[in-house]
């Protein structure tokens, strides 16, 4: 019997695989600009050793406890695998919940890809438009609390917008058909996202000089690439695993019985 748990397990697996892929991309494409940024940071004497002890966590202190060669390999891999697995599990659950209800009534692959596409745009891409990632050496350690709060607030607004848009599209489906309901949903999300992007406060902590613009671009592009690979791999692997699960566990039954 197909349950939500089947989708959770497949999502976690897809996320683990995606985390591995994201690690390789991050290591190959992201680490060079990170290393170059840290070199600039250290050349500029970015270490504020006189900071208050409590603020140590927020201070721009690199490599005091964990050596840089560990941060850029095992550390990077840990972050990518943990985040990938967590996001994969979440989209696995969402795909299971959405199956037969949202995006497609007949094709679970389409549902899985759509869930991951929506998650990429909602969780990463729209927040990226207003709060793009910064490399080491860019950013004032004293504003980390403010910037973190803004970032997660933007993610929350984006999730709320997507939830409203999906609910609206689902309710309109019977009246105007799937296509127009889908367009109405996209339009709703765009309006909410643009409003949030317009209202949320902005900041720019890129130093006026001393940090090469091309390096900033390289870092931000590599970050985008990491996320595209992460969500793309989760989407494709989850689509395939979900399809196989449905084919194995659900298709032979002429009528669907939902029991425990």
């Amino acid at each position: 019997m197909l349950t939500l748990r089947d989708f959770l397990v497949r999502g976690l697996l897809a996320g683990l695989i995606a985390g591995i892929a994201a690690f390789f991309v991050a290591y190959a494409v992201g680490e060079p600009p990170v290393a170059a940024s840290i070199a600039i940071e250290e050349a500029a004497g970015g270490h504020d050793h006189g900071d208050e002890a409590e603020e140590a966590a927020a201070a721009a202190d690199e490599g005091t406890e964990v050596p840089r060669p560990v941060q850029s390999t095992v550390g990077l891999a840990t972050g990518m695998l943990v985040l990938g697995t967590a996001l994969g599990g979440a989209t696995g659950l969402l795909t299971g919940a959405a199956m037969g209800r949202l995006f497609s009534r007949t094709n679970v692959r389409a549902t899985a890809l759509a869930v991951n596409g929506v998650a990429f745009v909602t969780l990463f891409f729209v927040p990226y438009l207003i709060y793009p990632p910064n490399p080491p050496a860019v950013g004032n350690g004293e504003t980390i609390g403010y910037r973190t709060a803004l970032y997660f607030a933007m993610v929350a607004l984006s999730i709320a917008g997507a939830a409203i848009a999906l609910a609206l599209a689902r309710n309109l489906r019977h009246q105007i058909g799937s296509w127009y309901a889908g367009l109405a949903g996209v339009a709703t999300y765009v309006v909410i996202a643009v409003a949030a992007l317009g209202v949320m406060p902005r900041y720019d902590e890129v130093p006026a000089e001393g940090f090469p613009p091309s390096l900033l671009w390289e870092f931000r592009l590599s970050s985008l690439l990491v996320q595209i690979v992460l969500w793309g791999v989760i989407g494709v692997v989850l689509a395939e695993l979900s399809h196989r699960a449905v084919a194995q566990k659900a298709a032979p039954r002429p009528t669907q019985l939902i029991d425990a």
């Binding site: 349950t3 939500l4 748990r5 959770l8 991050a26 992201g30 680490e31 990170v34 140590a56 966590a57 927020a58 201070a59 721009a60 202190d61 690199e62 490599g63 005091t64 406890e65 964990v66 941060q71 850029s72 550390g75 990077l76 840990t78 972050g79 990518m80 943990v82 985040l83 967590a86 996001l87 599990g89 979440a90 659950l93 299971g96 199956m99 037969g100 497609s104 007949t106 094709n107 679970v108 549902t111 709060y131 990632p133 910064n134 080491p136 950013g139 350690g141 910037r147 973190t148 709060a149 997660f152 870092f219 590599s222 970050s223 990491v226 996320q227 449905v246 659900a250 298709a251 939902i258």
Partner: protein, 72 residues
């Protein structure tokens, strides 16, 4: 996708829907665990600290930057 009438119809079967009623408590629990994982990779020992020191922050430091979380 409404060509299910003609010939040996390909598998255009309607998908089953999964009951969410009995599944939601542990699905919620799972989502909370996943949020915790995102928190540890994305924010711990930055804006807020559950564990003292700087080791978690430094361990996941490069992933945090490259995944787009505010770091420092």
């Amino acid at each position: 996708m409404s060509q299910a009438i003609a010939g040996p119809a390909p598998i255009a079967v309607e998908l089953p829907t999964l009951s969410l009623r009995e599944a939601w408590p542990w699905a919620l629990f799972g989502l909370i665990l996943m949020l915790l994982a995102v928190y540890f990779v994305g924010a711990e020992q930055g804006a807020t600290s559950l564990i003292s020191g700087n080791a978690v922050h430094e361990w996941v430091h490069d992933a945090r930057h490259l995944l787009g979380f505010p770091c420092h």
